[in-house]
């Protein structure tokens, strides 16, 4: 055993230096004050690749204190790779915090691609990891021009894009990252949450923060704020319905719940199996059944 291997690096609480945290904090306040506007910030290097949730991670590290209880989820699950790694990194660098799998017990929730099924409370806060923050990037390559379009709330080209979908497929084909208008002005990319989760942004009791580390943007949906998915009067927004070929709503294979967002698996015998995507929700439904 060499001295090198025994040496323990000493990091400040939360890994980031205080200047980095202050900058993120100032950015968060601006993001809340201008709902849906992507506030630029100088995203720091983290000891993991950009695109692995560094935006969400920097938010969590700048917000968290030793009396917080944190839940980290990836696609609804506490046990998938991204969640496990981010959680253990935060545990390692934030001494004294608590972590939990139970949505109810957490006051800070960092999430990749899902919002928990259980409605969040006012004393909770969710941080979403964002790969692509700007919904206009599909229609305008220049960021300078996109910033002006956002400022003017000029989203006509985005609407044309949706219209083209309808002409071609009779349906808007966006399955996740559904463009959503916040407080009647800015349109955001709500991160790759499924359509199922988009209505949860509307008049949410909890503050929702979104962090894009690679793209260096932070934005927010404040509590009790209108969030409307883009749609047309005659083609309303709809969420996934999970109806099988007999017209029946599929149930979770594990807990039997018919109200949650389902993941599709292929079992070892080649059949399709459906299970709750939110693992804590599934656990709770099982517990209720047992009781």
């Amino acid at each position: 055993m060499t001295a090198m291997r025994q040496a323990k690096a000493v990091y400040p609480f939360g890994f980031l230096d205080e200047y980095a945290k202050k900058e993120v904090r100032r950015t968060v306040l601006k993001a809340i004050a201008i709902p849906g506007y992507q506030v630029p910030y100088s995203s720091r290097e983290m000891p993991m690749g950009r695109g692995f949730g560094t935006g969400g991670l920097q938010l969590t590290l700048s917000l968290i204190g030793s009396n917080d209880t944190l839940k980290v989820i990836d696609q609804g699950s506490d046990d998938s790779v991204n969640a496990v790694n981010l959680r253990s990194f935060i545990e390692m660098t934030c001494e004294g915090i608590n972590t939990t799998d139970v949505t109810d017990e957490a006051d800070l929730i960092q999430s990749r691609h899902r919002i928990p099924e259980k409605p969040l409370r006012e004393d909770q806060l969710i941080i979403l990891q964002v790969p692509y923050p700007d919904p206009l990037v599909v229609v305008e390559p220049s960021e300078d021009k996109r910033k002006v379009m956002h400022g003017e709330a000029d989203y006509s080209r985005l609407l044309v894009k949706l219209y083209e979908d309808i002409v071609q497929f009779d349906e808007i084909t966006i399955s996740h990252r559904y463009p959503t208008r916040i407080n009647h002005h800015y349109i955001i990319d709500p991160s790759p949450i499924p359509r199922w989760d988009v209505p949860k942004l509307h008049q949410s009791k909890a503050l929702i923060l979104l962090g894009a580390g690679r793209e260096k943007k932070i934005y927010a949906v404040p509590p009790y704020t209108d969030a409307e998915p883009l749609a047309f009067d005659d083609v309303p927004f709809r969420v996934e319905n999970f109806i099988d070929q007999h017209g029946k709503r599929r149930a979770c294979d594990r807990c039997g719940d018919t109200t949650s967002f389902l993941d599709e698996f292929t079992s070892s015998d080649g059949n399709k199996v459906y299970q709750c995507s939110d693992s804590d929700w599934c656990r709770e439904q099982l517990q209720k059944k047992g009781a």
Partner: protein, 188 residues
């Protein structure tokens, strides 16, 4: 050894920030900072939490001690160009703060107004807008009404506008640019 005041410690700043974030996301809600920051004023606590060498600050009414400036490490600027401007709430606005630009509305000034009280008083308003479930009543004292009139003008073209944080000795409350303020009764 000289004792460091609580407001300069990272763990205290983290808690002050969380209080600030809470009041910013729920306009009209007040946070009590006294227990967090010992005997320091709410104004100094929030400046210590937000300000560093990267931003500029103006202190129109000399509310800060000269000894605070080196610790804040910030650039001292005039009221019309600073990112953060501290003013006494009873003295009317006499300047045009930065409102940001259409492409970068975050380059607007954050105004910090020091009042007699943000908890109680005869200056009463009803707030609505993002962060507020329906409406929220507030009562303050020591605010010159001209601030509200000017604010309305500054915030008339969203996303441009100023975000206001009001403090008294121990409490803090926020009025981001999206908040609609309706005065219900006004007495100085």
């Amino acid at each position: 050894m000289k004792k460091i005041e609580a407001i300069w410690l990272p763990d205290v700043q983290q808690q002050v920030f969380r209080a600030l974030m809470e009041v910013m996301s729920r306009p009209g809600k007040t946070a009590h900072l006294a227990e967090l920051v010992d005997d320091c004023s709410a104004l100094r606590a929030l400046l210590a939490t937000l300000i560093d060498g990267e931003v500029s600050l103006a202190d129109r009414d000399q509310l800060l001690d000269s000894s605070d400036w080196p610790l804040l490490q910030c650039q001292q600027r005039d009221v019309e160009s600073a990112a953060y401007v501290v003013c006494a709430g009873e003295r009317a606005p006499d300047f045009e703060p930065k409102l940001g630009t259409l492409a970068s509305p975050e380059h607007a000034t954050t105004l910090i107004l020091k009042l007699k009280s943000v908890q109680a008083g005869k200056q009463q308003c009803t707030l609505s807008g993002p962060g507020i479930n329906g409406t929220q009543k507030i009562a303050v004292s020591g605010l010159n009404r001209a601030w509200l009139e000017q604010r309305q003008q500054w915030n008339s073209a969203f996303p441009l506008g100023v975000d206001i944080i009001v403090v008294d000795d121990t409490h803090v409350m926020a009025l981001p640019r999206t908040t609609q303020i309706e005065v219900t009764s006004w007495d100085m």
